[in-house]
Symmetry: C2
Subunit: 196 residues, 2 copies
DNA sequence: CAGGATGTCTAGCGCTGCTAGGATCCGGTC
DNA sequence: GACCGGATCCTAGCAGCGCTAGACATCCTG
C-alpha cells in the first residue's frame, strides 16, 4: 500500500512535469495559439481528460509554465547582477539580462506577463520565484534608499513596456540598447542616493 | 444609378460605424471576451456574414475600435498638454492624462495595446492618430533635444508597463501617483537639456 | 478468486471564428 | 407593367476550441 502508492505518486508527478515541459516546448516552437488541449494531450500521449486530472484547466497549465519561467528568470537576473564588475553597474547588468530573457524566450515571457494568468503577485500567496525576480531589481539599489522598491517597480514597468511595445512594432524594433542606456542613466544615479 | 448607389454607400458607411460602436460598447461593458461575432451580429441586428462584408475578420473589427481609441487618446493628451500651467509641467500633465485614459477605458486600451492587432506602428502606413499620440509625448521636450524621440519612447514604455502590470496585479494597484511623480522627476529634467 | 477502488478513454456538449449556397429583394430595361 | 439581372442578406454548417459525463479496463485488497 505504501510503496505502491508512493510509486504511483512519483509517476504522477513525472507526468505532471511532462505536461508542463511539453506545453512549454510547444509554445516556444509554435506559439501559444498552437497549444490546445487536444494537441498537448496528443504530444504527451494521453487523452485530454488526463490533463484535467492534473490541472484545473488550460490557464493552470500556462501558469505552471510561467512559474518555471519565473524561477529561470530569477536565476538569470541573479547571475547577471553578481557578475557585474562593480555594484554601480549591477542595475545595467540586470536590465540587460531581463531584456535578453524576454527576447530569447518570447513565448515563456508571454506566459509570465501577457497571457491571462491566475498567479497572484505582491501578496501573501505570491510564489517565491516571483518575489525573487522583483528583489533582484530592488537589490540593485542602496538598502538605505527608502524608494528602492518604487524604483524597482518603475524600472520593471519600463522594461516590460519596452519589451512588448517593441515586439509588437509599436515602437521601432531596433535601438533597444540605446533605450536601456537611457533608462539606466536616468534611474541608476539618483540625486538622493548613490548605488550600493 | 448615381444617387441610389450613393445612398447605399452612405447606409453602408453608417452600418460600418454602427458595428464598430457596438463592438466597443460591448467590450467596455462586458469585456472583449464577450465580444463574439454572433453576439455582435445580434446587437447590430444583422447576421454574422454581414460583419465579414465590412471587415476581414474579428481582428479587423478590434483594430477599427483601436483606431477610434487612438484618435480619442491623441485629443485627450493634446488637451492635457495645452492646459498645463507652464511648459515645464506639460510632461506630467500628458502622463497623467495617459494613465487616466488607460484606467478609465480599460477595454479600449486593451484593443489599442494588448490584443493582437494588425495595426502597423512607426512605419509609412501608420495611421495619423497613432503618430499624433506619440508626438504628444515628443512635444513635451525641447525641439532642440535630439533625444526627445528616445525620451518619448521610454516614457511611453514605462507608462504602458505601469498600466498593465498594476492592472494585472503584478505590481501593487495603489501608488500610481507616486510612480508618476518618480518617473516624471527622472525624465522631465535632464542634465543635458531643459524642457520647452 | 471476487469486489471495489482507481485510473483512463470515448464520445459529446456548447461555444468560437468563419463561409458556402440559396433565397429575396430591388433597380433598370423593354 | 412585367420581367430580368445583380446586389444583398440569411440559413445552415464546418472545423476547431475548452471542458466533462459516463463507460470501460486495470490493478490492489480481502
Amino acid at each position: 500500500m505504501s510503496a505502491i502508492s508512493e510509486r504511483r505518486e512519483r509517476e504522477r508527478a513525472q507526468r505532471h512535469r511532462l505536461i508542463v515541459a511539453t506545453a512549454r516546448e510547444l509554445a516556444e516552437t509554435e506559439g501559444w495559439e498552437a497549444v490546445t488541449t487536444r494537441r498537448l494531450a496528443d504530444r504527451v500521449e494521453y487523452s485530454q481528460p488526463v490533463l484535467y486530472s492534473h490541472f484545473n484547466g488550460k490557464d493552470a497549465i500556462v501558469a505552471a509554465v510561467a512559474l518555471d519561467g519565473f524561477t529561470e528568470l530569477a536565476g538569470h537576473l541573479s547571475r547577471a547582477r553578481q557578475a557585474a564588475p562593480d555594484p554601480g553597474q549591477s542595475l545595467r547588468a540586470v536590465c540587460d539580462a531581463y531584456l535578453d530573457f524576454a527576447t530569447e524566450r518570447p513565448a515563456l515571457y508571454d506566459a509570465m506577463f501577457v497571457l491571462p494568468t491566475e498567479l497572484r503577485f505582491a501578496s501573501a500567496e505570491t510564489p517565491p520565484p516571483l518575489r525573487d525576480c522583483f528583489d533582484e531589481f530592488v537589490n540593485c539599489f542602496n538598502p538605505g534608499d527608502e524608494r528602492r522598491e518604487l524604483s524597482a517597480e518603475v524600472i520593471w514597468s519600463a522594461l516590460h513596456g519596452i519589451t512588448v511595445l517593441s515586439r509588437s512594432g509599436r515602437i521601432p524594433a531596433g535601438g533597444q540598447e540605446e533605450r536601456l542606456d537611457f533608462l539606466v542613466a536616468r534611474f541608476g544615479t539618483a540625486e538622493d542616493g548613490p548605488l550600493t
